[in-house]
Every structure is written in structure tokens, then in C-alpha cells.
């Protein structure tokens, strides 16, 4: 564009004003006609809504209407705005401000639809709500009768927090009352780290609600640190909000001149001058980098004899640091210890110190330590010069309060559990956990009061067995067997044969020594209902997902036959997932219904700003219809509309057992709703209690120690343990008692096979996963282009703006090139969540998951989205 070029060159163009040939001197000196000043908001109304997309900040949105239509959305800017008092404006980012484009989008669902062509063909007919409720109820009942409740699954969905919060939601209540459903474990966001933290620090450290309670410190705890080491912790992009974590991070670093080292293949907005060093590491090689850090630290402890206090702290807490600690633990193992059954799998020679320093079992054939994990060993793998690795190790050892943290991109890889187990071990090794200014290695917590009172009654409500305010009417039936979320689609084809050993299905019986008696899951998934979810687009390998969904069983109700009997999608937009549904139901958007949700810093009472578009209906009201058809009389005894339900929630949130009487009542807010700001807390130190007594460790692992050596994983890794995916992960199946850097398929060290570049797919600022993709303004201001390093672009002859084909062994996407210095050499990156759109065998929508692989990770059975090799060619 000419004018844009002008901006760039204009410093040398002082004479430009003469271009026009006119000047104001020659203009008609007619008196300027001033516009009359009119009140710019006269005739406008507003109502509060909330961005319920899954960045998890859930910012309030001030929806401005005129004549029954939304004219714009404004951020919260009422009251005090002072970071130091914790009372701040809970300002939404650009995504939430574009709610209008979602409400009035061409893809907006306005009527119930039923599939008429083959599944995925996009051919639908309009039906009535009554017919939809009848058909869904009939299919659901039939699946339960023929295949059992295990054949019913609620699909992963996080695009409308009111209903998809993992432990609440009207659909969850309905399914619970019917006797349960397959509630998969693990999230697309964080499966590997959740598993790693449970094995390393114990189940008690795990999320009770996602994003909270991982045992990590508040982001604001960084103000007491002198050195922050971030493995891709990128709050500034992940949480752009002016009320939540990104803002807290920016403010905290502004107030504390600490040293900040950022490790990520991308130079993200979390840097922008805040960093003292950006370490542009190769994807999936963080494990090698950390092993080299371990090497320097253990050399200091055991070879140089320095840092005695740190060493003693590490030795008192870490199981598996040395052979001695393992021998002693094994010798004293009591039957009350949950590791007792795994005693045979404790091998003291397999300890971290020997492995890292190349000693004992890990020495070479001459007994020398040539296999030591030195910085010189790691450097060519991760691409980071040895002196830089050594510098990080020295900084960690000399810092008084190192704050070690990670994002979740690093764990979304084929060895994600291994690297997270190392990241959790690192602060313990350094005596940098549980005390002022430190962190346990995990994603820090937002500096908020946590979820306020509002979600609590909703959570209780979803469980009909909870002796709560809405009363329970159903027996305590739950499906104890849980399939990994990343096997959702696989379970439609071979769920019936899945076991704990073969697929990590939890809750199924297995014998440690004898695999022949393992309990199988017994049925495929036959009925899938997805609410505000887009897993066709967001699961790995879309073409494989489409293949599985296109399977039509010969007749319904066959538990071992592949293929769904029914796929119901409830959403506001015709997403790529809705296109693969049998029944599509139009939900209301975040501003067309009553709601009550807590954001990071506020409780928001939403009242509708406009009438529901078309025949759209709050999902809850459809569930009431379904409950009636299914004869569940106790389903909605305290309110059969979203409005009545929300008012009941509000009453409970204020006056209930766990209520907060400071929350404003409805009176006076019936037309607009409200935003009630909770000042955020003082910084919290993660795992302070667990690490307070070195003489008496109190973690929630079986050993009460930090299980860097996990006897349970040692069993899994043994010959009689879990089934091994040797094709993908080699002889060990990617499992090992202590965490190790393991090269995997499509890693930097694997054969190139014609795919020379590593791909990372990051969370673009222009979407929250796949939500907001169909907002034209956001597509314009956050270009979906593949990032290519200038060095690689030069080698490949690529320039910015060129259309490229990006191909992995799974498929091809077509996307524009963006040559940028903000990506490491040999790596390319695209923002995930673009909507898949197939045209002549290519995905012209540019969805990352056309390229990713549906191959579950070894331990968590999670999604390794950042393990992808690609080649790029001109389209």
C-alpha cells in the first residue's frame, strides 16, 4: 500500500506536502462549519455480558445497544484502577470487544438443524425444537439401553464457560441423572503437565479447577524474585486482557528489575524488551537443555562440593536423586505406602545423578563418563551454544530466589511428560520452591481472588448427588472408567477393547503382573454431544477425525461396531464440528442470556442486551426439554428458564452456605446486570506448606517425596507394564522411571524424511482457540500467516505475503508467508484454531490440526500438537 510505504520512508520526505499542488493558501477561506456537539451516548443502553471464550480470563463486556441492536462493545472501565491496591479495571482485549461480529455473523446458527446428506456433507434441513428434543432423547435412551452409559460421551468444549466448565453445566447434570457418561480425563491444554505434576508432586497438587491450584505461585510473586526463568510461559499473548494475568505480569516486571530469561522458539510479546535474554530453542529439545542444567548443578554439588545447603535440600526431598536415597527408600518401604506394590520396580542404579553425570550404570564401556549430559552434549541438539546453557545454570545457582515457570506449549509435545517432570524437579534441586520469590516450575497463577462465589453453586448443581440447594434426585452413579481425551475419536472405533495397559484408561481393573485379566472398556462411544466445543477442528489430524466420523454403523446400538449412532452439537456458529453433526442446535451468545460467572477479578451478572437471534435458545432450556422427554422430573425444580436459573444461582452465591454477602443483589441491576470487582490477593507462594520441613517432607505422592523417580512409572516402563508404542517412541515406549530427554518421531533428531522444518502452533492473539475465527476485523488485524525465519526464508527463496503449501505426513494447508525475526531458525509457526476448510485436497482455512498427528503421548496419552515436521513449498 502506498500510504504504508510512506510511513516507512517519510523521514526522508519532508517535501511531501507539495505533492498535491495545492496549499491551504489557495483554499476557499470559507468559515469552518463546526459540527454541533451532541451527546455521543444519547439513546444508547448497555448491559453487562462476559467474554466466555477459553483464554480463561472471562473479562466483562459492556454491550452497548440502540434500537434493539448491538452497536459496539466497550471494556470495563468503572471505578478504581490501581494495580497496587488490587482494584483494577477488568478490561477485555480486542477479541471480546468483537462480540458483535460473532452475534451477527453469517455463520450464526438460528434454527435447529438435522443432517440430510452424508455426515460432514454440510447438508441440513431445519427442524423444530420439539422434533430435535424427541430425536436426541430417543437416541440417547437407545444408546444407554443397548450399549450402556459408557457409550455416551460429552465432547470437550470450552467456548462458553457457563456450560462447559469441567465440573458444571446443564448437560453434565442431565447426563449424571441418566446414570453417567464418559467424562474423559486430560485436557487439550494441559494433559501432559497434569500427569507429570501428579506423579512428581502428588495428586493433591493437581488442578481442582483448571488454572487454579496447581501448586504454583502467583505471577505477582515474581516481585520477590531476582531471576525468572520461563520455559515458554507467555502470559502477555495468552492472556491479553487488561484485568488478568498478562496485565499482572507486565505490571510486576515493571516494578521489579529482575533478570528475565525466556526460552521459546518464538520471540513472543512477553519479551518486547522485558527479557535479558531470549533463548530461541528448537521445539521439543527443552529436555536436553534441562539435562545440561542438571549436569552443571550436580557437578557443583557432587564434584565441586559447593552449594551444600541446596544439595541437602534436594537430597531430603527428591526420590531418585542418588542411588543411596532409592536404596534406603526401597529398604524401608511399608505396605501402607502406595508404592509398595511397585517395590520390585525400584532400581537404585537408575538414579538422576548417575544418569546425568554418566556414572554407574550410565558410564561407557570403559567406565568413563563420556555419556554425561554436558552443555556440550546438549548444545547441538537444542541449538543453544554451551556457554549460554552454562550461564543459565550459573545464574540459577547464584540467584537468591529463582522463579522457574513454564507455559503449556512445552508440554504439548511427544515427550511432554518427560520435560515437565524435569521442569518440576529443577526448582527442588535448587531449593527454589515453597519460599518467597520462587515457584514450583508450573504455570503461575493469576493474581486474583480466584473464582469468586459465583461458580460454586453452579458446580454443586451439576452433580445431582450433591446435598445442595437444588436438591438431588438421582443415585450416585458415575462412570469410573475414564478414557484419555486425546483418544476421544479412537474410542469411537476401538473403545470396546481399550484397557488401562493398552490405552491408559483409568478406573479399569488391571493386575500388575498379569495382563491377561485386564478389564476392557467394553463398548465404543456411540453417542456424542458437544456443547460449545470444536474438537473436529481442535483434535489432532483432522483428516483422521473426519474418516472416523464418516463411519456409519450398519445399525444403531452395536457396542463393538465402529462409528457414532448420533452426534449432537450445540453452538452459536456453524463450526467445522457442527458441520459433522447429525443434529445441530442453536445456542444463545454471551449477551443474549442471563448468566453469572466469575472472571479473574470480577463477578459478572449478565442480563441479555438483545433478544436471542432467530430461534436460538439457551442450552439449559434445551436440556430442560430433554429432561422432560427422558422423564427426569427432578432436573430443573428451581427454575426452567435460564433467567430463573441465574436468579437462583445469584441468590445462592449471596446467601448460600458458601455465599458471599458482599455481592450486590439483583435489585437495581435487572436491566444492566453488574460487574463486581474483587481486589486480588497478596502474592501467594506455591507449595509453601509441602516444602516447609526438609526433615519431614509432606507431599501427596505415595512416598511423600518429590518422585523424580516414580516407582509407578518404573512399572509401566517394565516388560510387564504398559503396552509400548515402539514404532513411535522406540523400545521404551517413551516411558522411564526418571525423566529423560528422548528423541521421538518428528523431532529435531529424527530422520527428516522430506520434512525439514519443525512446526509449532501457538495461541494466536486473534482467537481464543477456534473462537472468534469468523470475526473479519480480527482476521484483518491478526494475520494468519506462517512465520518463517529470515535465514530460512532466504535459503528457501520465500518472501512475505507469498502463498505457501505447508505439508506434513498428514495433510497440506495453504497459508501466506510471514518472514519474521521472531522465530528460531529451522522452525516455522502458525496460530492454531483457524477453521479447517478443504478445497481440492488442501486445507485453505489453514488449520494447524490438518498437520498434527493423532498419536497419544506415552504417559498422559495426551495431544503432542507441537511435534510436527513439515516442508513448505510455493502454492
Amino acid at each position: 500500500m502506498k500510504r504504508r510505504d510512506f510511513l516507512k520512508v517519510s523521514a526522508a520526505s519532508a517535501a511531501v506536502a507539495t505533492v498535491t499542488g495545492c496549499s491551504s493558501d489557495s483554499a476557499d477561506p470559507a468559515k469552518p462549519i463546526e459540527q454541533p456537539i451532541t451527546d455521543p451516548i444519547a439513546g444508547e443502553s448497555h448491559a453487562w455480558a462476559q467474554c466466555q471464550s477459553n483464554c480463561w480470563a472471562w473479562c466483562p463486556l459492556k454491550v452497548i445497544t440502540k434500537d434493539g441492536k448491538i452497536i459496539r462493545v466497550e471494556p470495563h472501565s468503572e471505578g478504581d484502577d490501581n494495580f497496587n491496591t488490587g482494584r483494577i479495571h477488568n478490561k477485555a482485549c480486542a477479541k471480546g470487544l468483537m462480540l458483535k461480529e460473532l452475534v451477527y455473523s453469517p455463520e450464526r446458527l438460528t434454527k435447529p438443524l438435522k443432517r440430510t446428506g452424508p455426515r460432514g456433507s454440510g447438508q441440513f434441513e431445519e427442524i423444530s425444537w420439539e422434533q430435535a428434543a424427541n430425536e436426541v432423547a430417543q437416541s440417547l435412551r437407545s444408546t444407554i439401553d443397548t450399549c450402556g452409559n459408557r457409550a455416551v460421551m460429552l465432547g470437550n468444549g470450552s467456548g462458553a464457560a457457563h456450560s462447559s466448565y469441567p465440573i458444571m453445566g446443564p448437560h453434565v447434570r442431565l447426563m449424571n441423572m441418566l446414570g453417567g457418561f464418559q467424562k474423559t480425563y486430560g485436557y487439550y491444554s494441559a494433559s501432559m503437565k497434569e500427569m507429570a505434576i501428579a506423579y512428581t508432586f502428588g495428586e493433591g497438587t493437581k488442578n481442582f479447577a483448571y488454572g487454579q491450584g496447581t501448586g504454583s505461585s502467583s505471577v505477582t510473586e515474581m516481585k520477590y524474585s531476582d531471576y525468572v526463568l520461563s520455559f515458554g510461559y507467555n502470559p502477555v499473548e495468552m492472556f491479553m486482557t487488561g484485568g488478568g494475568e498478562g496485565h499482572h505480569f507486565i505490571q510486576t516486571l515493571e516494578q521489579n528489575d529482575l533478570k528475565f530469561v525466556y526460552i521459546d522458539p518464538r520471540y513472543t510479546d512477553t519479551c518486547l524488551g522485558r527479557e535479558d535474554d531470549w533463548i530461541g530453542i528448537r521445539p521439543m529439545t527443552d529436555g536436553a537443555f534441562i539435562e545440561a542444567l542438571f549436569h552443571e548443578i550436580l557437578t557443583a554439588y557432587y564434584i565441586d562440593g559447593s552449594h551444600v545447603e541446596k544439595r541437602q535440600f534436594a537430597e531430603s526431598f527428591i526420590l531418585g536423586l542418588t542411588a543411596e536415597t532409592l536404596t534406603e527408600y526401597s529398604a524401608n518401604l511399608s505396605p501402607s505406602d502406595d508404592n509398595y506394590g511397585y517395590k520390585d520396580y525400584i532400581h537404585p542404579e537408575e538414579n538422576l545423578k548417575d544418569y546425568i553425570l554418566g556414572l554407574g550404570k550410565f558410564a561407557d564401556e570403559n567406565g568413563a563418563n563420556t555419556h554425561a549430559k554436558t552443555p556440550e552434549w546438549a548444545a547441538p541438539i537444542c541449538g543453544i551454544p554451551a556457554h549460554k546453557i552454562r550461564q543459565v545454570a550459573q545464574d540459577l545457582l547464584s540467584a537468591s530466589a529463582p522463579f522457574i515457570c513454564s507455559g503449556q506449549g512445552v508440554q504439548r509435545s511427544a515427550q511432554g511428560e518427560q520435560v515437565m517432570r524435569m521442569i518440576y524437579t529443577l526448582p527442588v534441586l535448587l531449593n527454589a520452591v515453597g519460599r518467597r520469590g520462587t515457584n514450583n516450575g508450573d504455570l503461575p497463577m493469576v493474581a486474583s481472588a480466584g473464582p469468586g462465589a459465583a461458580p460454586i453453586p453452579m458446580a454443586a448443581w451439576s452433580d445431582p448427588t450433591f446435598p445442595g440447594f437444588l436438591g438431588g434426585t438421582a443415585p450416585a452413579t458415575v462412570i469410573k472408567a475414564k478414557i484419555p481425551t486425546y483418544k476421544t475419536y479412537e474410542a469411537m472405533e476401538r473403545g470396546f477393547e481399550m484397557t488401562n495397559r493398552s490405552d491408559g484408561v483409568r478406573g479399569l481393573k488391571f493386575d500388575i503382573k498379569d495382563p491377561s485379566n485386564d478389564e476392557t472398556y467394553g463398548t465404543n462411544i456411540k453417542f456424542l454431544m458437544t456443547v460449545a466445543g470444536n474438537t473436529v477442528n481442535q483434535h489432532g489430524d483432522i483428516n483422521e477425525v473426519k474418516r472416523i466420523l464418516s463411519i456409519e454403523p450398519s445399525s444403531p446400538g452395536q457396542p463393538e461396531e465402529p462409528g457414532l449412532d448420533m452426534h449432537v452439537v450445540i453452538d452459536t456458529q456453524m463450526t467445522p464440528t457442527a458441520q459433522w453433526a447429525d443434529i445441530v442446535l442453536p445456542d444463545t451468545t454471551w449477551t443474549e442470556r442471563w448468566d453469572l460467572i466469575a472472571s479473574d477479578n470480577a463477578t459478572v451478572l449478565t442480563v441479555p442486551s438483545i433478544k436471542p437471534i432467530g430461534e436460538s435458545k439457551p442450552m439449559f432450556e434445551f436440556m430442560v426439554m430433554l429432561a422432560d422427554k427422558l422423564g427426569l422430573s427432578g432436573y430443573a425444580t428451581k427454575g426452567r428458564t435460564q433467567e430463573a436459573l441465574t436468579k437462583t444461582f445469584l441468590d445462592e452465591a449471596i446467601n448460600g452456605v458458601l455465599g458471599d454477602t458482599t455481592l450486590p443483589p439483583l435489585e437495581g441491576h435487572e436491566k444492566t446486570g453488574y460487574v463486581y470487582i474483587h481486589p486480588f490477593d497478596e502474592p501467594a507462594i506455591g507449595m509453601e506448606k509441602e516444602f516447609s520441613k526438609p526433615d519431614k517432607p509432606g507431599l501427596s505422592t505415595p512416598s511423600k517425596l518429590v518422585e523424580t523417580y516414580s516407582p509407578r512409572i518404573a512399572w509401566m516402563a517394565s516388560a510387564e507394564g504398559w503396552e509400548k508404542d515402539t514404532e513411535a517412541y522406540g523400545a521404551t515406549g517413551g516411558l522411564s522411571a526418571i525423566p529423560k530427554y528422548v528423541p521421538t518421531w518428528e523431532s529435531f533428531e529424527s530422520d527428516d524424511d522430506g520434512y525439514p522444518l519443525q512446526l509449532v502452533n501457538y495461541h494466536t492473539k486473534g482467537r481464543a482457540h477456534s473462537t472468534f475465527h469468523n470475526c473479519p476485523t480480527l482476521r484483518k488485524v491478526y494475520e494468519d500467516a506462517i512465520w518463517v525465519n529470515p535465514y530460512d526464508a532466504n535459503t528457501l527463496g520465500i518472501i512475505s505475503g507469498e502463498m505457501l503449501d505447508v505439508t506434513s505426513p498428514r495433510g497440506t494447508i495453504q497459508v501466506a508467508a510471514k518472514v519474521t525475526p521472531r522465530i528460531a531458525m529451522g522452525v516455522v509457526a502458525i496460530g492454531q484454531g483457524a477453521w479447517h476448510k478443504e478445497l481440492a485436497g488442501k486445507d485453505v482455512g489453514g488449520c494447524a490440526n490438518t498437520l498434527t498427528r493423532q498419536k497419544a503421548t506415552p504417559l498422559a496419552k495426551g495431544n503432542p500438537m507441537n511435534t510436527v515436521r513439515v516442508r513448505i513449498t510455493k502454492a
Binding site: 523521514a11 506536502a17 498535491t20 483554499a27 480486542a94 470487544l97 541449538g383 531458525m825
Partner: protein, 214 residues
């Protein structure tokens, strides 16, 4: 200087050390002012550069820098646009805001050609020039411009030059950063706080990384 403290001209303030490039300013302006997809009264430029080489052992030497610059009309002391306007439609108001008399604008784009900040944006449907007017109607009623109100990181502000100087220090046109042009050309009423990453106006080590987004 007492002169500066009495400066009542309308000005913007931009803090490059806080801006996270969220584009709330750009987007809320488009939303609030009803602008079409290609018309931006405010734009967020991504500016950056770096050096890259590979060592013999497979390790990499990499350095990168990047930052954002949110730019609208700067309501300049010496606006190039008003000088270029053949009809007098483009004018500077007593409060310093540069605005357009819609009824006498002929849509010739002379102002757009002249402005080194890309501030005037032609409404091709109506054949009229449009631009940031500081949301002066909102200001009259004690409301902030959409862009300032929507800045998620409190990196953007507006007020009189005197007010902004009292709040943040600095001075209009001083310490401007790439990719902005030399502030001597039009004497923009824009105060900027730099960051460790920012490069001065005229820098040639980086480039605008997001030409398609602005």
C-alpha cells in the same frame, strides 16, 4: 519550562514499554466509529529485527527485538494535512484537534498524501476523507476516546500536553521511535515512552513486520 506546562493542545501519550500489541485501541476505534475493514483511524505497527547465523556444531546465534507502536492522528502543531487541503475542510480547532468539515471535503486525498502518519483515511463509499478527531464529542462529555478507554495495558492516554507532561514527563515529538517519521516534519502532539527494545526514528536495523495488519 513554564511554556510547556501551559500547553493546552490536545495530545496522545504512548508507552512502548507497556504496549502488548493487543490492538484493543485499533479494534475499538473501528467498532466505535463504525469504520470499514480497511479503514483504521489508529494502527498498531509491529517493528522488529534480528540477526541469525549457524555455528559449525549446529548451534545458532540468534538475536531478535520487536515492539509495537500505536499511532493515530497526532494533531500536529504543523499539520501537513491542513496545508495540503485545497478546500479548508481539514482544519485545526482551537483545542488543537485536527478535524474535517465533512460538508466541504471533496475527497481529493491531498491530505492523505501529505500526512506522514497515514492519519487521513478515505471513506470510498461516500468519497469523503475521514480521520481521528480525538473523539472530541466524547471528550466534551467527559468520556475518553475509544482507543484510550480500550487500552488493556494502560499504555495509551490523552489530554492536554500540559496534563500528559505532568503525568508522564517527556515532551511532544521527543524521543520518537521507528517506524515513525522525523517529528520535525509536522511537530506531532504525541508523547512517547520508549522501552529497552525501541529504536529511534530513522532506524534501519528493523522493519515493519505487519504491513498487512495496518
Amino acid at each position: 519550562m513554564t511554556q510547556a506546562n501551559e500547553n493546552k493542545a490536545f495530545a496522545f501519550y504512548f508507552d512502548a514499554s507497556r504496549c502488548n500489541g493487543c490492538k484493543g485501541c485499533q479494534v475499538s476505534c473501528k467498532d466505535g466509529r463504525g469504520l470499514s475493514i480497511d479503514r483504521n483511524f489508529r494502527r498498531v505497527y509491529e517493528y522488529g529485527g534480528g540477526t541469525f547465523s549457524q555455528n559449525g556444531d549446529g548451534t545458532m546465534e540468534q538475536s531478535s527485538f520487536a515492539y509495537y507502536a500505536s499511532v493515530s492522528c497526532n494533531h500536529c502543531e504543523k499539520p501537513a494535512c491542513t496545508s495540503a487541503c485545497p478546500t479548508g475542510a481539514m482544519h485545526k480547532k482551537a483545542n488543537g484537534i485536527v478535524a474535517i468539515h465533512d460538508d466541504i471535503c471533496i475527497g481529493c486525498s491531498s491530505c492523505a498524501e501529505a500526512c506522514p502518519y497515514d492519519a487521513p483515511q478515505l471513506d470510498t463509499n461516500r468519497g469523503k476523507m475521514t480521520k481521528c478527531d480525538g473523539c472530541f464529542e466524547r471528550l466534551e462529555f467527559g468520556l475518553k476516546p475509544f482507543c484510550v478507554q480500550s487500552c488493556s495495558q494502560r499504555a495509551l492516554d490523552c489530554g492536554t500536553v500540559a496534563e500528559l507532561q505532568a503525568r508522564y514527563g517527556g515532551a511532544p515529538g521527543v524521543g520518537h521511535i521507528a517506524p515513525l517519521p522525523n517529528s520535525n516534519i509536522t511537530q506531532p502532539n504525541l508523547l512517547i515512552r520508549s522501552s529497552p527494545c525501541t529504536r529511534p526514528t530513522g532506524d534501519t536495523n528493523g522493519s515493519v513486520l505487519n504491513p498487512n495488519e495496518v
